[in-house]
Symmetry: C2
Subunit: 120 residues, 2 copies
C-alpha cells in the first residue's frame, strides 16, 4: 500500500494566457520536472470559442489543467503516485505560471494498492 496526496485546486483571477495550450502543457512539464515525475504522454485539447484542457500522463498517474479563459479560471489536478514526490512542489511551479489572484486547494489522501481485508 502507498498513501499519496492528491491536490485539486481552483485558481481564480489568473494573470496568464489560459487559452494558450503550449503555455499550459509547458507549465505542467515544468511542474513534473520539479518533482521528478516521468512524462509518458502529453495531451492538449482546445475548445471553441475558448478554453483548453492540458493533461500529462505520468508514469505516476496524471496532472491536468482545464481552463475557462473567459473567467480567468483554471482547474488544476495534481495526482502523482510516486513515493517521496511532493505534489505541493508541482503546485509551486504552477502557481508561478498561472499567477492566480486567489485559489482554493483541496488536498486528499489516496491509498493505492491492495487493501488488506481488515481495512475493508
Amino acid at each position: 500500500m502507498l498513501k499519496i496526496k492528491q491536490l485539486l485546486v481552483d485558481a481564480y483571477g489568473c494573470d496568464a494566457d489560459l487559452d494558450d495550450q503550449d503555455f499550459l502543457i509547458e507549465a505542467l512539464e515544468a511542474a513534473a520536472a520539479e518533482v521528478g515525475a516521468k512524462i509518458v504522454r502529453r495531451v492538449t485539447q482546445r475548445f471553441s470559442p475558448v478554453g483548453v484542457s492540458a493533461i500529462l500522463i505520468l508514469a505516476e498517474t496524471h496532472m491536468s489543467i482545464h481552463t475557462w479563459p473567459e473567467h480567468s479560471y483554471a482547474a488544476v489536478d495534481v495526482f502523482i503516485c510516486g513515493e517521496g514526490k511532493d505534489p505541493h512542489k508541482a503546485w509551486e511551479v504552477l502557481v508561478d505560471r498561472l499567477r492566480p489572484e486567489s485559489y482554493d486547494m483541496n488536498e486528499l489522501v489516496r491509498t493505492i494498492g491492495e487493501k488488506r481485508s481488515k481495512d475493508s
Copy 2:
C-alpha cells in the same frame, strides 16, 4: 459560478481485467453516455509490465482510470463540469464494470468560474 461535485474513488479487489485498455476506455465511454457528457478525446496508455491509464477528455472536463492490475486496484476520477450532470451516475456504471470488493470514495465540491472578490 458553477458548483460541481468531483468524485475520486479508490477501488480495491476489482474482479475485472484491469490490464485491458479497450475494456477500460469503453467503461468510461459508457459512464459518460449515462450522464450525457460529450466525449472530445479518448486517451489510453499501457505500462510495462502491466497497468493502464485511460482518460476521456470531455466537453465537461475529464474522467480517468489508472490501474494497478497486480493489486486489483483502480484509481477513478470523475470530474464533470456540467450543470445537472450527476457524477454518481457515472460511478454506478463504473462500479458495475470494475466490480470492486470495496472502495473508498472522496467527494468534493469545486467552484468553477469567477470568484467574486467578497469570497476571496
